[in-house]
Symmetry: C2
Subunit: 144 residues, 2 copies
């Protein structure tokens, strides 16, 4: 009874995620972006002015992780944090003009990575792959 890592969903998930991150990094680094920043931008392009708490919920990362990522994004001129009118604990995260300008090229890069990644799947599999990932994610979240 050997445990074969190449048949282990968990091991393959880690390997696949590292390769996705590397592929995305290669394409968005020229824009001055990193993958962790990109996923925050995805939410802010959809709705600007979210709080850190909103972002934590939508991206399912820990609050401390988000705080650090936002620090780097502020440092890099992608966001500004403004006081919330009603709650002095909260800070609204707002996109800079620079971050707004990156939406088209960055999402194009991500779309291309996804296309290349799924290129070897049959059209049927390709369509169902995201649903399968979602099902696994749902199962693991339930386990938590």
């Amino acid at each position: 009874m050997v445990f074969d890592k190449d048949d282990s969903a968990g091991y393959l998930a880690n390997h696949m995620a590292r390769l996705f991150a590397a592929a995305l990094t290669r394409r968005i680094a020229p824009l001055g972006l990193m993958p962790g920043q990109f996923m925050v931008l995805l939410e802010l392009w959809r709705e600007d002015g979210l709080t850190q708490r909103d972002l934590v919920e939508r991206l399912d990362v820990e609050q401390a992780t988000m705080a650090n990522t936002l620090n780097r994004m502020e440092r890099d001129g992608l966001i500004m944090r403004e006081p919330d009118a009603a709650d002095r604990r909260a800070r609204r995260v707002r996109l800079t003009a620079r971050a707004r300008a990156l939406e088209a090229p960055a999402t194009e890069a991500a779309t291309e990575v996804n296309a290349r990644a799924l290129a070897r799947l049959s059209p049927g599999d390709r369509a169902r792959f995201p649903e399968m990932l979602q099902a696994v994610i749902a199962a693991l979240r339930a386990d938590r």
Copy 2:
């Protein structure tokens, strides 16, 4: 034309990998193991006495990443590094008795994580899921 992260294979891959890592961590931390150490042990249980270079090739991580992981494993009493008889640059990585004793409980934990993760897939999908991940991995490696 919005980019929906919940349909993006790359975003889902990252999310899934984080959840897998968390699920595995919960089960192997009581054994004194972390996920990065577990994948090294998988190779050493199969063949003890590999060099760092061997491990880098088999696990597809960078040499610096492996050097740091091996440092932590040595610190934690999981491995010892012995000089290579023929090449004074290389060091053979050898399991301690403690690491050998962890094979059964750790692989059981990983097997259970995989089973839970795939529980919501149909039996057919469940069988094909690892192959699909392998196909995506192959495509991304070719893109690299």
